[in-house]
């Protein structure tokens, strides 16, 4: 056996090298397939990585308190822009004083955690507890600043009062609403004032 190996040294060495190369290749192949499996298919530029139809989701803060919910027929997450877009979103916001605010529009673009939202197209904000409603072209919400605002022509409705202005801002806590720029509006008389009969002096 030893004499055979000594006589066929070249063949043994070649055999040994082939086996060694085989092992190395097998090892490399496994390593490659392993990494390929862990890599998600890359998303083409500007394409969503996931889309939700008829979406309805709720966000909770660290204490488990519900602070925002949204329904939308079409939600898409854009990984490269790190944004989420939603069509016809209806968004409810609960402020620190547990008051409810609703914002909506034709299109929404928001950060992934929903703390910053821009609504465009027939955007509305409603404050049920204060009985006011705002209609504008573009509306913004920022949870950190606790603020809803618009820099486009705004129409503000409260009870029977109608106002328009160039810009609008509502601080959620403490609640203040500010309309700025060319403010114009009408406050109708109440039913009592409208029907009060005091025109003795008006008679010719």
């Amino acid at each position: 056996m030893i004499r055979w190996i000594r006589d066929n040294t070249t063949r043994v060495v070649i055999l040994f090298v082939i086996v060694l190369v085989g092992i190395v290749l097998a090892f490399v192949d496994q390593f490659n397939s392993g990494t390929q499996e862990s890599q998600l298919p890359s998303v083409p530029e500007g394409q969503p990585d996931y889309v939700l139809e008829q979406a309805n989701f709720v966000r909770f803060d660290a204490q488990g308190k519900r602070y925002q919910s949204m329904t939308s027929p079409h939600v898409a997450h854009m990984p490269d822009a790190q944004q989420t877009t939603a069509t016809d979103p209806r968004i409810d916001i609960v402020d620190d004083a547990a008051r409810l605010w609703n914002i909506s529009g034709q299109q929404a673009t928001m950060t992934e955690d929903g703390t910053r939202i821009t609504l465009s197209g027939n955007a509305k904000a409603v404050a049920p507890s204060e009985q006011w409603r705002l209609e504008t072209a573009t509306l913004n919400y920022d949870r950190g600043q606790d603020k809803i605002w618009s820099d486009t022509d705004s129409r503000f409705f409260q009870a029977d009062q109608t106002m328009r202005s160039d810009r609008f801002e509502a601080l959620l806590t403490p609640k203040t609403v500010t309309l700025t720029g060319n403010v114009q509006g009408v406050i109708p008389p109440t039913a009592h004032q409208a029907s009060s009969d005091t025109d003795t002096a008006d008679a010719p």
Partner: protein
């Protein structure tokens, strides 16, 4: 006109701030308000509404120049004009208070003093000289013109 109170209030201003805690609306920046024949011009107007939602009071103040109000008592009468550092209009009593450098022109009659009060319904005028903390020299001046007849 007495029908003024039944007219809508039209407002224009540079800014409006609503404070829902006390139901007030603060208009500022060249504020102009009209209700029927009544017109009010000031730098700031705080408008408060009654529980029913209608106008309760308007408190107008001027910065640098006095606030101004005018109203036509009836189709036959001329404009009544009033100026004051502060003007307070109370909707229910239709009372106008001119406070600080107050001046009221009613037809050919003129009233000046620290405080002048005018009732739109009865056309009555009451004037006061300087009180403890009012501005003014403590004098009331009135010029009552005899009837033209």
């Amino acid at each position: 006109l007495d029908s003024d109170a039944r007219q809508p209030i039209r407002v224009s201003a540079g800014q409006l701030q609503l404070d829902d805690r006390n139901g007030s609306a603060i208009y500022s920046g060249t504020v102009h308000i009209e209700q029927g024949s009544m017109k009010l011009d000031a730098d700031q107007v705080v408008l408060t509404r009654s529980a029913a939602g209608g106008l309760s009071t308007m408190r107008a103040t001027g910065k640098g120049k006095r606030a101004y109000i005018e109203q036509k008592p009836s189709p036959q009468e001329g404009l009544v004009k009033g100026w004051g550092d502060t003007i307070v209009y109370s909707a229910d009593s239709r009372k106008v208070e001119l406070i600080g450098h107050a001046e009221l022109h009613r037809g050919t009659d003129t009233f000046t003093g620290a405080y002048v009060q005018y009732f739109m319904n009865t056309r009555q005028v009451q004037a006061q000289g300087a009180g403890k903390n009012n501005t003014g020299n403590g004098r009331i001046e009135m010029t009552i013109s005899p009837d033209a007849r």
